[in-house]
């Protein structure tokens, strides 16, 4: 480290040495002390030992202390610092990873890596010189600018103290995009990235600045739940799949306990032992009956002495009660009714002239009036959507065939339209896929002159528009028809949550529909409350869930669990370099050397010298004062 001075111009203050010395010898108004005789004192002062250079030095100790004090103060005024790097930067953005893996510690009771990173930033803040500024950005699955460029150390420390671990996977690109945005207002040359290296190896970004990648040390061993989902079993029940992953560096095992979230502690529904090797994963299967809705909690109890990460040791899963699929099929659609009636756990309405429950999971109709029926999946036959009536008309040629169809669509899997004859032919005047997409539709089956089957793109529901009538085609007589009907049922079950269930990940918990403009407060695991108001359509916005745990939607009875469920975070893997488009950023082998100002140490030393001088020289002599003479 080289010693430099931030304000070397203050060196002219050394000229104060001259008046100090002059004043010392001119002033030196010594206290007068009358003594009986100077006989002995004269002998003492005539002693050669007293007149030795060292004793002379000691006799002028006061002057030397004052000179030392002045020197220290002038040096402090020159603001010396040890130069950390050869090229100093005046603006220093700090990107701090606060994703879930940064909560990992190296040993039991040790500091988390976020705490280590914050200590390093503390050092950087302490080393800030008056011409340097720092900005702090934290990132997890999103980036937050904690402070703009400032040299105010207290502001920076406050901003740093606010950073907590977000129990979500990291997305490094957001951090660099925010840094890029920051750079538009104030240019800088280098960005300091403090991360554990548990980030993506590639980021599709162009970097207009250098990156100083400071990687935290490797944490201790970890085991955690990395996946949690359920699917409908063959019998009336749920099959729950759990995946338990482990980091490298040790042997792992533990027990998974399944319980209701509202069950007393220790009351478990099932327990399974799990063992996995370093860097590997093990899968577990639980079965629960589906006759009632359940909120389940899965807790991993590691049998290792130390588990680096706590957040991945628990998972929450909400399972709805299993029920038959409610399907409304128009009375005239005999082919669909026939196909659906043959399926298990499907109730087709209306049945025997009795109308259905009014709320359906699947609506299949050829009547425009049924467009108002609410269902997550709807199929309308021979009805041109309102928004496309100016584009598409339906002619009745002698015969028409499908030209192509999207085989990757979940509705058309294993469905073959190659030999199907249609007696209706949709004709589009300006048949352009882009136009349809702009209006919110995508074509699933293409006819010769227009789309035969359209999917209306909507967040809330899926609506298929068949611009032909199945009864006026050979489709019901093909093998693909019952497959198509089964695909519809399967998709409807999926949308209704009757086919599978997945545990929610941390980040954003999706909204759901309540009463319009209903005010709801959500209480999270960190006891913070979030106020939500549903929109005109009754849909609640998503909830930011950055902590693993249960989120209670007050007044609705809904409880949702947010889970980490990230193999990358649980594995605590570390990358040594991040590939950007035109650059490769490698983690630095050494901790970043920062400028270290030492002026405050000099000032403190000066204070000590001042106190020492006061103590030694300003103390009155006890003996002679007591004698009542002199002074």
């Amino acid at each position: 480290m080289n010693l430099s001075f931030f304000t070397p111009s203050a060196a002219w203050l050394f000229a104060l040495v001259l008046p100090l010395v002059a004043l010392y010898f001119l002033k030196l108004k010594r206290p007068r002390v009358t003594v009986p005789s100077l006989v002995l004192w004269r002998r003492v002062l005539d002693d050669q030992r007293v007149n030795s250079p060292f004793q002379r030095f000691k006799r002028n100790l006061l002057l030397l202390l004052q000179l030392l004090l002045l020197m220290l103060l002038i040096l402090a005024a020159m603001q010396p610092f040890f130069r950390g790097a050869d090229d100093r930067v005046t603006r220093m953005p700090i990107l701090i990873d606060c994703s879930a893996s940064m909560a990992a510690a190296a040993e039991r009771g040790g500091e988390s890596r976020l705490e280590v990173a914050k200590e390093r930033v503390e050092d950087l803040i302490a080393g800030l010189l008056p011409d340097q500024q720092m900005a702090i950005i934290s990132f997890s699955d999103h980036a937050s600018q904690r402070s703009g460029f400032t040299g105010n150390k207290q502001l920076l420390r406050d901003a740093l103290a606010e950073i907590e671990v977000d129990e979500v996977p990291s997305q490094i690109k957001h951090a660099f995009r925010m840094a890029q945005a920051l750079g538009r207002g104030a240019a800088f040359e280098e960005v300091v990235l403090l991360s554990d290296g548990n980030v993506a190896e590639r980021a599709e970004l162009d970097l207009p600045f250098r990156v100083n990648f400071q990687k935290m040390e490797a944490p201790g061993p970890n085991i955690g739940i990395t996946a949690c989902s359920a699917r409908r079993g063959r019998e009336d029940g749920w099959e729950i799949f759990l995946e338990v992953g482990a980091s490298k560096g040790g042997d792992y095992g533990g027990a998974i306990e399944m319980s209701r979230v509202d069950a007393p502690r220790g009351e478990t529904m099932a327990s399974e032992l799990v063992a996995t090797g370093p860097g590997q994963a093990a899968r577990l299967l639980f079965r629960v009956p589906g006759y009632e809705a359940r909120n389940l909690k899965f807790e991993l109890i590691p049998n290792t002495r130390f588990d680096a990460l706590e957040a991945d040791n628990v998972a929450y899963l909400t399972l709805p009660a299993l029920r038959p699929l409610q399907v409304h099929v128009g009375s005239s659609l005999a082919s669909f009714r026939h196909a659906l009636n043959a399926m298990e756990k499907v109730e087709v309405h209306p049945r025997d002239g009795v109308s259905g429950p009014g709320v359906y999971d699947l609506v299949i109709s050829d009547a425009a009036a049924d467009l108002n029926l609410g269902a997550r999946l709807r199929l309308f036959l021979s009805v041109v959507p309102q928004g496309l009536q100016d584009l598409i008309r339906v002619d009745t040629p002698s015969a028409n065939q499908a030209i192509d169809w999207r085989r990757d669509s979940p509705f058309l899997q294993h469905v073959d339209f190659s030999n199907v004859m249609f007696l209706e032919e949709p004709v589009s005047s300006e048949f352009d896929e882009g136009t349809l997409v702009n209006r919110g539709y995508q074509t699933l089956v293409h006819g010769a002159r227009g789309p035969l089957l359209l999917e209306e793109i909507d967040e809330e529901r899926v609506t298929l528009h068949a611009l032909f009538h199945v009864d006026r085609s050979t489709f019901p007589y093909r093998v693909g028809f019952p497959v198509f009907a089964a695909n519809l049922v399967q998709h409807a079950r999926h949308l209704a949550g009757l086919a599978e269930a997945r545990a929610h990940r941390t980040g954003i918990l999706p909204g759901f529909v309540v009463r319009p403009e209903q005010s709801i407060s959500v209480r999270g695991p960190d006891a913070r409350e979030i106020k939500l108001v549903s929109g005109d359509d009754g849909r609640l916005p998503g909830v930011s869930a950055l902590k693993v745990g249960l989120y209670h939607y007050e007044g609705t009875g809904v409880v949702r669990g947010a889970n980490l469920l990230s193999l990358s975070e649980t594995s605590l893997r570390q990358v040594d370099a991040v590939e950007f488009r035109e650059a490769r950023v490698t983690a630095e082998a050494q901790t970043m050397e920062t400028d270290r100002p030492i002026w405050h140490w000099l000032a403190a030393l000066g204070l000590l010298v001042l106190l020492a001088e006061w103590w030694v020289f300003q103390r009155r002599p006890g003996g002679w004062r007591a004698a009542g003479r002199g002074i």
Partner: protein, 294 residues
């Protein structure tokens, strides 16, 4: 409670002092008969030695017992008891005005004087100051009140003359051999060699008692000071450090040794005391241990 005989000495101290006397080594005596054994032969009852009989000797001093055994006449010799003159010199310079040194000198002078009078020695006291107060030679217990009243009247000096000059002045008013008890701090720039020579040549055994104050023995000062000499009003700038105080102690010890050598080379004795020490300790412990009084 009985009245105090003197403000200088308590009654019990006086009572104890009456049983003690100053131990002289040189036996400088005068021709007057007294209680001190003289070196020359005399007529006291204290046996000294034998010698051969010579014609003309007083037959009364022949030891007839020895003659009967040895058939040769021997003469018995006896000590002569003569009077000793005690001269007490009190330093009355301004340097004695510190930390009760003058008071301690007066107390010691009273003690020595009392012992001398109690043993019927001749006693005279002189204060070594510009006023040169002196107690003329006196003798016997009857002079005790005179001694006390003289010492009680002595006052601290306003002016100062050098100690060596004051001693020589005092000798001009003194006659008689004996013991000189010098009560002073001996803090003088001049040399005392000549004054001590004069004392010795006057037939006075020198008993020099140095009286110092506690801050002279162990100065408790720090920082920078301007020291002012109380007698000469000269100044000296001192920056005191730990080593300087150590050197001071070295020089004080050396000065004591110098004074001791000066006295011993003239068959005298030297002792340094502090005003902090109680008078009883100095008299009945220190001086007795040193063999000054018994």
């Amino acid at each position: 409670m009985p009245a105090q005989l003197s403000s200088l000495l308590k009654n019990d101290v006086i009572a104890r002092l009456e049983r003690l006397r100053v131990q002289s080594r040189c036996h400088f005596t005068n021709r007057f008969t007294g209680s001190h054994l003289a070196r020359k032969g005399g007529t006291s009852t204290d046996f000294a030695d034998f010698r051969d009989y010579a014609p003309g000797d007083d037959m009364r001093f022949v030891d007839w017992n020895s003659f009967s055994r040895l058939h040769r006449p021997y003469i018995k010799l006896f000590h002569e008891e003569e009077i000793t003159h005690f001269l007490v010199l009190i330093d009355g310079s301004r340097s004695m005005n510190f930390e009760g040194k003058f008071q301690r000198a007066r107390e010691l002078a009273a003690a020595f004087g009392l012992m001398a009078l109690r043993h019927t020695e001749r006693l005279s006291i002189q204060c070594l100051s510009t006023r040169a107060e002196r107690l003329p030679p006196c003798r016997g217990r009857a002079s005790m009140n005179k001694l006390f009243s003289f010492l009680e009247r002595l006052e601290e000096a306003d002016e100062t003359i050098p100690l060596e000059a004051a001693i020589e002045n005092a000798l001009q008013h003194h006659a008689g051999r004996g013991v000189v008890i010098l009560l002073s701090d001996f803090l003088s720039f001049g040399t005392l060699r000549r004054a001590f020579n004069a004392l010795y040549s006057h037939g006075l055994e020198i008993l020099a008692l140095q009286i110092l104050g506690p801050t002279e023995i162990d100065p408790d000062i720090t920082s920078d000071f301007r020291l002012v000499d109380a007698e000469l009003e000269e100044t000296l700038d001192v920056s005191v450090s730990g080593d300087l105080l150590r050197f001071y102690q070295d020089h004080r010890a050396a000065y004591e040794e110098e004074m001791r050598a000066l006295c011993q080379s003239r068959s005298g004795r030297f002792l340094a005391t502090s005003t902090v020490d109680p008078l009883e300790t100095v008299l009945f412990d220190t001086l007795r241990r040193q063999g000054w009084i018994a």
